[in-house]
């Protein structure tokens, strides 16, 4: 389902006014993406569902706090979901126990089929492609799977110092490319 930033903004605005129907439409349009975000970080269906619930309860209550400087509506909702999931990961200290790294991330993020952020994403894809492989992979492992530097080290077999500098250098380069 493809939804424009404009449409999401309308629903979010109506949500902030207490419109339950608009909130349900917002949920129907975005919950699949947010559930994927949560599932990637937590890798457990029940926890991912729990985070999704928390995220939408927050979205309902905080809809009025959204403004454009915080990014697109979708980006704002993704952040709410990610922070909630990271909190849960930390509080359960379960990363090492339940993480199944045998299921590799796709090397490239998939094109098309985006909500709201299409242009941003195309640019990000381009900029990500410009990074060295190990820089890109480290950033993806940290972003999608919430892996710490140590866990990325274990996963890739690279020294801790390298992983840290890959992420840092990769992101510096990414910023230069995105803000160019």
């Amino acid at each position: 389902m493809e939804q424009s930033q404009q449409q999401l903004l309308q629903w979010l605005f109506a949500t902030a006014q207490g419109n339950k129907q608009a909130f349900e439409q917002l949920y129907q349009a975005t919950s699949g993406k947010l559930f994927s975000v949560s599932l990637h970080l937590l890798r457990r269906n029940d926890w991912a569902e729990d985070v999704l619930q928390d995220a939408y309860v927050r979205i309902w209550h905080n809809a009025g706090d959204y403004h454009a400087e915080k990014g697109s509506v979708m980006s704002w909702m993704i952040s709410i979901t990610r922070y909630r999931a990271l909190d849960l990961l930390k509080s359960r200290r379960v990363k090492a126990e339940h993480l199944d790294l045998s299921e590799e991330l796709p090397d490239e993020v998939q094109p098309g089929e985006a909500i709201g952020l299409v242009r941003d994403k195309v640019k990000l894809d381009d900029c990500m492609q410009g990074l060295a492989d190990e820089h890109r992979q480290s950033i993806q492992l940290a972003y999608f799977n919430g892996l710490s530097h140590q866990e990325i080290t274990a996963h890739t077999g690279s020294p801790l110092g390298s992983v840290k500098s890959w992420i840092r250098r990769g992101l510096t380069q990414l910023k230069r490319c995105l803000e160019a």
Binding site: A48, E49, I78, R82, L86, L88, V94, A114, F144
Partner: protein, 225 residues
């Protein structure tokens, strides 16, 4: 703002977003975000840079029950299960225990005083009605259902042990809806410290996945007598 300061802010914002910042550092940074516009604007900018990554993920439609539970949490619909449900959240995030467990322990003590050391727990609903009394001696659990248990014909109540080390819950078996039942303590739970017990509503015969699949209705702490 000096160039170097911005470099530092960028690095901190990225650590914050990726979850690499922990505990006290994270809290201090959150405080800084509230106090300093430049800090929160840096975070927002990096969120906008990085979140499009998530756009590439194929959507996974969540179970329709999630939408039901969101509406319940917002108070739009009444709970659908026969007892007031406790969301997973309280099990996983807080393990908020009923204060009355201690009281129950005092009340039960005379009954149990002639026995060797025992662990007991009382599972009770949010309106403080006891549903099950559970006692553990050596490797045996004895569970007694009270008349307060809401009869479920289509489902079973399943009892779980939540290990204190944070590992996944271990099934202890199905709870009786009336009368008494004895369960043996599973091998997998041997020697593990117990954080709490939890009861979930499962399909008849119990969860097929080995993990709770239905709503978690109750949690209770174990008291050693």
């Amino acid at each position: 703002m000096k160039y170097q300061q911005q470099e530092l802010l960028d690095a901190l914002a990225v650590d914050f977003i990726l979850g690499a910042m922990r505990g006290g550092a994270r809290r201090r940074f959150q405080q800084l975000m509230m106090a300093r516009p430049a800090v929160r604007e840096t975070v927002w900018r990096w969120e906008q840079h990085l979140n499009p990554l998530a756009e590439g993920l194929p959507p996974t439609p969540p179970n329709p029950a999630v939408w039901q539970r969101i509406q319940q949490r917002l108070g739009w619909v009444a709970p659908t299960v026969s007892a007031p449900p406790v969301s997973y959240r309280s099990v996983w995030l807080g393990l908020a225990f009923a204060a009355s467990v201690a009281l129950a322990a005092v009340m039960l003590k005379p009954m149990l005083s002639s026995m060797p050391q025992q662990d007991i727990a009382m599972i009770q609903s949010s309106d403080a009605k006891a549903w099950w009394l559970i006692s553990k001696a050596q490797q045996k659990l004895t569970i007694k259902a009270t008349p307060a248990v809401a009869a479920e014909t289509a489902n079973d109540y399943e009892l779980w042990m939540l290990p204190a080390n944070g590992q996944a819950p271990i099934s202890l078996g199905l709870l009786p809806q009336q009368g008494q039942r004895e369960l043996s303590w599973p091998q997998a739970a041997e020697g593990l410290a117990i954080a709490a017990l939890a009861v979930s509503l499962e399909p008849r015969g119990g969860s097929a996945t080995g993990a709770p699949t239905g709503p978690v209705l109750f949690t209770a702490q174990i008291v050693t007598l």
